[in-house]
């Protein structure tokens, strides 16, 4: 079957099987920032935005993306760079494998919650596992990134 969708701002028509999952389809399209992790909807590595809503692409049937807009890490390069800088500064971007999914969740939080608290950060990042660094440094990095964004908006 064919689906029409927008991926990172570009309109596409893609041939898929009715039982394809979105993560496989996006990786076939060359978007390798969509990582393969648990493949059981638990680790958050494959997080993308589907019409601006964060979802796990390993558990989303690709057919559901018909007529919708997908954003992957490749579509948010500038912001991702800023977040990676904050993570790297604290030594919490080690193997880097979880970073794309984590960054997509941070950007979702930034989009839907105004002035997020620590509780909000934990709530929205709970579904992203990191096996290198633990989460204290990540929390600091996220707070610092969000704080920086506020000033950017003010300037």
């Amino acid at each position: 079957m064919k689906i029409n969708l927008t991926i990172n701002g570009k309109e596409k028509e893609i041939e898929i099987a009715p039982d394809d999952y979105l993560s496989e389809v996006l990786r076939r399209e060359g978007l390798l920032g969509v990582k393969k992790g648990c493949d059981t909807e638990s680790c958050g590595l494959c997080t993308v935005h589907l019409d601006d809503v964060a979802v796990l692409s390993c558990g989303t049937l690709a057919a559901k993306a018909h007529g919708k807009a997908i954003t992957t890490i490749e579509g948010v390069e500038k912001k991702a760079e800023k977040i990676r800088y904050e993570l790297g500064k604290r030594g919490v971007d080690q193997c880097g494998y979880c970073a794309p999914g984590t960054i997509m969740s941070i950007l979702y939080l930034e989009k839907v919650v105004k002035d997020p608290t620590e509780e909000d950060i934990n709530r929205y990042l709970k579904g992203n596992f990191c096996r290198c660094s633990g989460y204290v440094g990540q929390l600091e990095a996220i707070k610092s990134y969000l704080e920086g964004q506020k000033h950017e908006v003010c300037e």
Binding site: E41, G44, L61, A63, K126
Partner: protein
Amino acid sequence: MITIRKYFFPETIEEAYETLMEKKSNALIGGGAYLKLGSKAMGTAVDLSKVGLDYIREEESAFEIGAMTTFSTVMLHEGLNKHFDNLFQRAIEDIVGMQLKNMVTIGATIYSRYGFSDFLTALLVTNTKVKLFNAGWISLNAFLENGPEKRDILEKIRIEKTNGLYRFQDLRGSSSDYSIINLALSKEKDAYRIAVGARPGRAKLAVKTMDFLQEREVTAENMEKAGAILSEEVVFGTNGRGSKEYRKAMAKVLLKKALQEVSIHEN
């Protein structure tokens, strides 16, 4: 693994039902998240996304929630949280992450009557009816006990606004794991509703415990007695997550915590 021969987006519930009933192998897709974990060979996958069942409507005396409403929408709904003391938020919060909660739907959850469900336990202490497209309205309790008579589509639910106190308690190996045992409690005037889920069987009302607590004061002695009644009347079992004995002991603890929370709130 699931296999699908054809993918279909009906635009009305009538069309969805008709297609579902055409062949035994045709199946409904809600969020599709739970189907991914199992194995099923589907003829036509009938995706309910475009049927218009994604809504929460607050009326004067009730909330109506469409089957395709996601857990995150329920969890963050101000009206529901305000009216039910964050009961649903508390029950949904620890289910994996926000991304999964953006995908999974209430209709699939209720229709499937999962034993491990946190949401169903919470829902059971409210006055809730479910609307099946073909069979019509039925109380949630009756639906959980008996299931549907024939294949059907869960269309929406209706939760009456009752003036009470609501609490949810759960025990998990780690946050975002499935509950080992969970319990919800509501108190309206002097009447309690208590539901126990992840027994590991599906959520059930603890009727004898509810009767015992009716019009009794929440004293240390009465909490002990209520716990003893609860652990005898509810059927517990063993699975990889916990033994029957452990669940039995922990259910008493969850009841005590819920009663204490209500009692502190009242005093």
